[in-house]
């Protein structure tokens, strides 16, 4: 298991480096001019100086190396400093947003909790709904429960998240004023009242994302349980006289979870993508909303860092999934 984990880790590092290079080249070679937004009254020679001071005059590879150093060495040092009150980083140059002139890491640190809250809760809710529905659907294949479940999961899978979000707003905050349509990010949870308010404003975004996830995971769970129910070991277990509960919930469930764990793990990055749209619908000020607003403002360092953070999340969760898969299914390890 140790060797397997190490092997996976060794693959993940060059992948991340290559992705960072792709992102960097895409942004670096793009025909857009980062100075295009500046007022026309600035003389050309001043503009040229500003370009040089932003480091745009250096060769591309120098800029890439500098960015790598900033992202992997200087920014982590600053994070450690902030956490433990040390001063390891000194006055080294940080990645600074062109829009707000604040370090990119600080802004992301402010925005990340909102995204993680909404996305995390939605994913947990979605998985918690999907697993039992998938099991019951497969166990009672072609029953009315299965038919309705399949239809709903097909709908949840097909309807884009921005439309489910809009429909939920029309239904539950315009027609029936039950939940707020906008996410109030200034809300501080201090007492029971504000905790309830926080819960109420999370309901709609979480519902949107959870529906999407639950339908995807539910479909896989159903297929996986169906495959396993036909296996010989199920017949053996029944022939031994085990109760249906034990057969389904212990024997079948454990084996069908193996592929589903992969789907759950691989779905995490996807839900971050979905969060970009959902945050835009409900005006949650998470990192997805930050990405959109910095794209609109041509804020290249911020866009670069955020895109790379998304890539890190994807590679990280792929790694976790691979390792979990190795733990669950010993055949994978000795490949």
């Amino acid at each position: 298991m140790f060797h397997y984990t190490i092997r996976r880790l060794v693959v993940a590092v060059p992948t991340l480096l290559l992705i960072s290079l792709i992102i960097f080249l895409l942004l670096g070679l793009a025909p857009g001019d980062p100075m295009a937004q500046l007022p026309l009254t600035i003389p050309p020679e001043v503009k040229e100086k500003m370009r040089l001071s932003l480091g745009l005059g250096d060769p591309l590879m120098t800029r890439y190396a500098l960015w790598l150093k900033q992202f992997f060495w200087i920014e982590p040092l600053h994070v450690i400093d902030a956490l433990f009150g040390l001063d390891l980083s000194g006055d080294s140059q940080r990645i600074v947003s062109w829009q707000s002139r604040a370090p990119v890491a600080d802004i992301i640190a402010q925005r990340l909790p909102q995204t993680l809250w909404v996305v995390g809760v939605a994913y947990l809710v979605g998985t918690a709904i999907a697993l039992p529905i998938g099991i019951i659907s497969a166990y009672k294949q072609y029953s009315w429960f299965d038919q309705i479940g399949t239809l709903i999961s097909m709908i949840g899978f097909s309807v884009p998240t921005f439309f489910t979000g809009v429909v939920l707003i029309v239904l539950f905050s315009v027609a029936l004023p039950w939940f707020p349509s906008l996410y109030d990010t200034t809300l501080q949870v201090t007492d029971w009242q504000s905790f309830l308010a926080q819960l109420r404003q999370m309901v709609l975004p979480v519902m949107v994302l959870a529906l999407y996830n639950a339908s995807q995971i539910g479909r896989f769970m159903r297929a996986s349980v169906l495959d396993n129910l036909r296996e010989d070991y199920v017949r053996t277990a029944r022939a031994k006289g085990l109760t249906e509960k034990v057969v389904v919930l212990i024997h079948v469930l454990r084996n069908s979870m193996i592929p589903v764990v992969t789907v759950i793990g691989m779905g995490v990055p996807q839900i971050f993508g979905g969060a970009i749209i959902t945050e835009q619908v409900f005006k949650v000020n998470g990192i997805g909303e930050l990405l959109i607003s910095s794209i609109q403002a041509n804020d290249l360092p911020m866009v670069q860092t955020l895109t790379f953070i998304f890539a890190v999340l994807i590679v990280l969760f792929n790694l976790i999934t691979d390792i979990l898969y190795g733990i669950l299914d010993p055949r994978i390890r000795y490949d």
Partner: protein, 303 residues
Amino acid sequence: MTDVTTQATLTTRSSQSLDVWRQFRSHRGAMAGMLILGLILIAVIAGPWLWHVDPTEITMRARNRGPSLAHPLGTDQLGRDMLARLMAGGRVSLTVGLVAMLLSLSLGTLVGVCAGYFRAVDGLLMRLTDLFLALPLLPLLLVASMLFREPLARLLGAEAGTFLLIVFVIGLTSWMHAARLVRGEVLTLKEREFILAAQSIGTRRGKMIQRHILPNVLSPVLVSATLGIASAIITESSLSFLGLGFPPDFPTWGRLLYDAIDQIQIYPMRVVMPGIAISLTVLSVNYVGDGLRDAMDPRIRGR
């Protein structure tokens, strides 16, 4: 002699496709999906011939009207006819979906066949596929459409430039699943006897791929194609919804939804209509894909 063989292959092939069709017809969802998809296609393609209203014509006097005889689905905030806009938008959205799917499929098939057939490039191409799968696609799509929109628009005009850009970025970021699928299929095909037979009579590589490999990977590719259209339509409308798709006066379903969202409290129908159009199309395409997959799967077809 040749006549007999061609006839024989024709009858066997037609009976196989008959089998597939029979299985497909027994899938109720797929049949319903095909019906609805057909209706949407007819409405979108033939609609503008029957409904002669310009989707971009602005009539300030007839702003924000409800459904009436002159405007069956009402008008928007600039007095443009919603029915005409929905039909025009559907044309663009479906074209984007189709073209992007074709692009991603040909790329995926190319990579898949090369990786499966030529062992020398297999490792490299599959690592490339893995790398693309690990890319954060939606953020990259957004970034690419931010960076390349204006230069392309200057080069080709706003509409054509955006169309090409969106089709290309969607195609270039969605070929990976098709490639993996095709590679797996080619790898199993390579072990079959008829390939060995073809090899032993001296069939050259190009002919081999064209004659024996490609026709046999068609069925998994077909399923992947239907699902590809669905996801391309969703991606296009998401880009438009985030304001990074087509220009404002150019109707697509995603753009119509995005334009209407400011007034959702007063005119919710204007948001719901394009949304339903997108959702119905994607839902029926997905059902057709589901039915096709079941019909193509010989394990299920026997039952």
